[in-house]
Amino acid sequence: MFVRIDKLNKEFDKKEILKGIDFEIEKGQWFTLLGPSGCGKTTTLNIIAGFINETSGNVYIDGNVINEKPPEKRPTATVFQNYALFPHMNVKQNISYGLKFKKEVKKKDYKEKIEKVLKVVNLEGFENREINTLSGGQKQRVALARALVTEPKLLLLDEPFSNLDAKLRQKMRKEVKQIQQKLGITTLFVTHDREEALSLSDKIGVMKEGIIHQIDTPKQLYDNPKDGFIAKFIGNCNVFLKNNKKYYARPENIEIADKGGEKAVLIQKNYMGKKTQLEVKMTYGTILIDVDSIKCDKYNIGDTINVFLHEKSIS
C-alpha cells in the first residue's frame, strides 16, 4: 500500500486524542477523514506532516517509515485552512520557497516550474502579484501551487474550502478534484463537511472521538452505514427502536401509500422548494419524510397517512 497509517495513538495532557488510527491509501487515491470538530482528524494530519509527534504508531509512505523524520524531510505538502501564505513574499517567491530545498532542481528551471504550476491552478501571469492583492480563491490556488510544485508523494488538505463562500467553494472543489485527478496525486483530505467528503473522495474514513468508525466508498457509507452515528453523520436519517432493535430509514426512502404500511399522524409540514419535509408521529417517535412538493398538497396537518419506512437494521 502506498500510504499506511499504523495504530496511531496520541495523548495530550493525559487525554487520549487518537486511539489506534489505522488506514491505508492507494497511490493516486483521494482519501478523506470526515468527522465532527474535535474528533482528532486534524491531529492525525498534523502527525503525518510531522508538525506534532505521535505517542505511538507509525506512518509509512512508499514503503518507508517517515514519522522519525522532521517535517522538512518528509515527502508531504500541506494546504492549510487559512492558506498560510507568506505575506512578506509575492506569489513567485511563495511558490519557489519549497524548490530551494530540492537540490535536484536547478535555479534556471524555477521559472518554467512556476509557470507550469500556475497554469495548473489557473493563475497564469500572477507571478509578481503581492499576496494581499489576491482574492480568497486566488490565495487558495497559490497555496495549492506552492504545495504541488514540490511534487509531494502525499498531498495533505486541511479543510481548505471552509474559508470560502458557498459559491466559490463549489467551484474550488471541482477544480481541486480535477487537478488531483489530472496529476494523479495521492491526497489526504480532512473535513467536517459531509457533502464535500461524499462528492470528492474515493474513500472516506469517518472519525469520532479519536477512532475511525468506518472506512468505505462514499456510496457504501451512505447505503450501508455501520452504526447510528455514521448513518446520521453522513446524511439526514431517522434512527429508531422497533421491537428492541435499532433501525434507520433515510427520509427520501420513505414511501407514502394510499393503503397498507404503518399509520402515522402528520404534525408539521416544512416547505423547502422542490421537496417538502413532513414530520409525522409514529409509535417509534417523530419521523421525517422527504416528499416531492407537488405531491403533498393533499396532506393536511392532523391527517393520518400510511407509510412504508423501508427501514434497515443497524448496530
Binding site: I52, P70, E72, F80, F86, P87, H88
Partner: protein
C-alpha cells in the same frame, strides 16, 4: 447640525467627548507647542545655531552610542526571552514571566544602585570578594544598567508581536523543506520585524532620554539628557536645555511612526495568541537564547538581593552587619511623607487616566471621525516623547498666565495622567475593537440614553481593560522620574525623586529602602489587580 458626524452641542457629548478632548489639547498639545515656540519660535535661527554650536559634539556622539548599544543588547536578550515565553510554555516560562513583571514594576535606578553596591569601588563582589580595584563608572556601566532595566518592557512588546504570528506559516515552511533555523529567520522573523522595530525605537528613545543613570554611574561620560537636566536644575538655562531636548525628539518621531504602525497592525488567522504554540525551540537559537536568559536572570537575582541587603545592613570588609538604621530613617516624617504622597498621586492618576482613556477610545472606536483621529494622534504622543522633554513642556506651558500651575501638586499629577493616557486608550481600544458595534445601538434601541448605554453596556465589557489601564498608570506614576523631576516643588516631593536624590548624594542605604518600599507597594497593587482580573475572567468563563 452634526459636525463631522457628532452632535457636539448635546450635553452628553460635551461631557463625554468635548471636555476630555479639550483636556488633551490643553495638557498635551499646548505644552508641546509652548516648548517648540520657546525653542524655535522666539529666537532667530542664528541664535538657535549658536546654542547648538556650543553643545560639544561628543555629547551627541555619546548619546547616540549609549542609545544604540543599550537598544541592541536589550533587544537581543528580549528576543531570546520572548522566544522562550512563547514557544516553551511551562513552569519555568511562567516563573520567568512573573519575574519580568516584577522588574517592570520596579522603580528606575534600582539596577544602578545594585551595580554600585556590587561592583562599585567599594563593591561587595569587586572589592570585598575579589579585591579588585577598578573604575565602574563610564559608558560600560550606563549601557549595562539601561539594558537590564529595559529588557522586560522590550520583551513584552516583542512577545505581543510574536503572538500575532500565524504559526501555520512556520509549519508550511518546515513542510516544504526549511529547517528550524531557516524557517525562524525567513518566516517568523520577517513577520515580527515591525514589532521588533517598534520596541527598539521606544527603547532607544527611553535610553537616550535617561539622564539619571549617567549621573549616577556615568562618571565623566556626558550625554545630552544629563546635560539638559543639569542646565535646567543647576543653571536654570532653559534655552540650551530646550535645544538639547529637541535633538532627542528627532528619534522619537521615528519611534512614534513604528509604534503607531505596530499598534494598528490588527491581524487575524491561526494566531499564537489564541492557543498553545506547537513550535518548539531548536538548535543554536535555543542554546544561545538559554545562555542569555540564564545570565540575565542571575544578574537580576543578584540585583534584588543587593537592594535587600543594602536596605537592611551595612557592608564591611568582614561581612554584613544587619541593622534597621535606614528603615528608621525612612519612617521619619520628612522621608515618609513623599512616599505616601506618591501613593496618593498614583491612585488619582490611575483613576483619571483610565476614565479619560475609556471615554476617548469609546469615541474613537465607535464614532471614528476625523476629529477623533486627531485626538488619538495627540494622546499617544507623550508616551513616545522623551520624558524630560514632556517635563520641560509643562514648565514652559504652565509657568505663566493663563494657566499658572508651576509648584502645585496638580502639575505633577496632570503630567503623569497625560503621559499615560495613550496606554490607557490602547488598553481600552483593544477590547472595544472586539465589541460588536451594534451592541450599543441595541441598548439605545431599547430606550437607554447614550450615557446609560455607555456606562451600563460598554463599560462592564471593558472591565479587564480598565483594570489594566489603572494598574499601568498607577505603576508608572509610582516609578517615574524623567518628566516630573522638573515639576516637583520642595513642598511636594515624591518617592522616586527622593530616591534619585539619595542616590545622587551617595546615601545608598536610604535609596535602597525607597526602592524596596516602592516595589512593595506596586507589587501589592499589581497582585491585587491580578487577583481581581482572574476573578473577572473566571466569572466570564463560567457565564460562557
Amino acid at each position: 447640525m452634526p459636525l463631522l458626524g457628532i452632535h457636539f452641542l448635546s450635553l452628553e457629548n460635551i461631557l463625554l467627548f468635548v471636555l476630555p478632548s479639550l483636556c488633551v489639547l490643553l495638557f498635551i498639545l499646548y505644552p508641546i507647542i509652548s516648548v517648540l515656540q520657546y525653542g524655535l519660535g522666539q529666537s532667530s535661527f542664528k541664535e538657535i545655531f549658536d546654542i547648538y554650536n556650543k553643545i560639544p559634539k561628543t555629547w551627541i556622539i555619546n548619546t547616540v552610542k549609549v542609545g544604540t548599544l543599550s537598544t541592541l543588547f536589550t533587544t537581543v536578550i528580549a528576543v531570546a526571552i520572548a522566544n522562550y515565553l512563547i514557544f516553551e510554555k511551562g513552569k519555568w516560562s511562567k516563573v520567568l514571566n512573573r519575574f519580568l513583571l516584577l522588574t517592570m514594576i520596579s522603580p528606575p535606578f534600582v539596577s544602578s544602585l545594585a551595580y554600585i553596591m556590587l561592583y562599585g569601588k567599594r563593591g561587595l563582589i569587586t572589592f570585598h570578594l575579589f579585591n579588585i580595584n577598578w573604575n565602574p563608572y563610564g559608558i560600560q556601566g550606563i549601557v549595562l544598567m539601561q539594558t537590564l532595566s529595559h529588557v522586560a518592557l522590550c520583551t513584552f512588546m516583542i512577545k505581543s508581536a510574536m503572538e500575532n504570528f500565524d504559526e501555520s506559516q512556520f509549519w508550511v515552511s518546515r513542510d516544504l523543506g526549511g529547517s528550524f533555523s531557516y524557517s525562524y529567520f525567513k518566516i517568523i522573523f520577517p513577520n515580527i520585524k515591525s514589532g521588533i522595530l517598534a520596541a527598539m525605537s521606544i527603547i532607544f528613545v527611553q535610553c537616550i532620554s535617561d539622564f539619571g543613570t549617567p549621573i549616577i554611574i556615568g562618571g565623566n561620560f556626558k550625554v545630552l539628557a544629563t546635560e539638559a537636566y543639569l542646565s535646567i536644575v543647576g543653571k536654570g538655562d532653559l534655552k540650551s536645555a530646550t535645544v538639547m531636548l529637541l535633538l532627542l525628539v528627532i528619534p522619537s518621531i521615528m519611534a512614534y511612526y513604528f509604534y503607531r504602525k505596530e499598534m494598528d497592525n490588527y491581524k487575524t488567522g491561526d494566531l499564537i495568541r489564541n492557543k498553545k504554540s506547537s513550535i518548539k525551540l531548536h538548535g543554536i537559537i535555543k542554546w544561545v537564547g538559554s545562555f542569555l536568559i540564564v545570565t540575565y536572570t542571575i544578574i537580576m537575582v543578584f540585583q534584588y538581593a543587593a537592594i535587600f541587603v543594602s536596605a537592611f545592613g551595612r557592608i564591611y570588609s568582614g561581612g554584613i552587619i544587619w541593622n534597621l538604621d535606614y528603615i528608621k530613617e525612612f519612617f521619619t516624617q520628612n522621608k515618609f511623607t513623599p512616599f505616601i504622597r506618591s501613593i496618593k498621586y498614583a491612585f488619582i492618576v490611575g483613576a483619571i487616566s483610565t476614565l479619560l482613556g475609556f471615554l476617548l477610545s469609546y469615541y474613537i472606536e465607535f464614532k471614528n471621525t476625523k476629529i477623533c483621529k486627531g485626538i488619538d494622534f495627540l494622546a499617544v504622543l507623550p508616551y513616545v516623547l522623551p520624558g524630560p522633554f514632556f517635563g520641560l513642556a509643562y514648565i514652559l506651558g504652565f509657568n505663566h498666565k493663563p494657566i499658572f500651575l508651576l509648584g502645585t501638586a496638580s502639575i505633577v499629577v496632570l503630567n503623569c495622567i497625560f503621559r499615560q493616557l495613550g496606554i490607557s486608550m490602547r488598553a481600552n481600544a483593544s477590547v472595544m475593537k472586539q465589541i460588536p458595534k451594534n451592541i450599543e445601538l441595541a441598548a439605545r434601541d431599547l430606550g437607554g440614553s447614550r450615557i446609560r448605554s455607555l456606562f451600563e453596556v460598554i463599560l462592564p465589557l471593558c472591565d479587564t481593560a480598565l483594570l489594566a489601564s489603572f494598574i499601568n498608570s498607577f505603576t508608572a506614576t509610582m516609578t517615574t522620574v524623567g518628566a516630573i523631576i522638573f515639576l516637583i516643588s520642595p513642598k511636594a516631593k515624591v518617592a522616586t525623586t527622593e530616591m534619585f536624590n539619595a542616590l545622587r548624594d551617595g546615601e545608598y542605604g536610604l535609596a535602597a529602602v525607597y526602592g524596596l518600599m516602592i516595589i512593595c507597594v506596586t507589587l501589592f497593587v499589581n497582585l491585587f489587580a491580578a487577583f481581581i482580573q482572574k476573578r473577572l475572567r473566571d466569572k466570564k468563563e463560567k457565564a460562557a
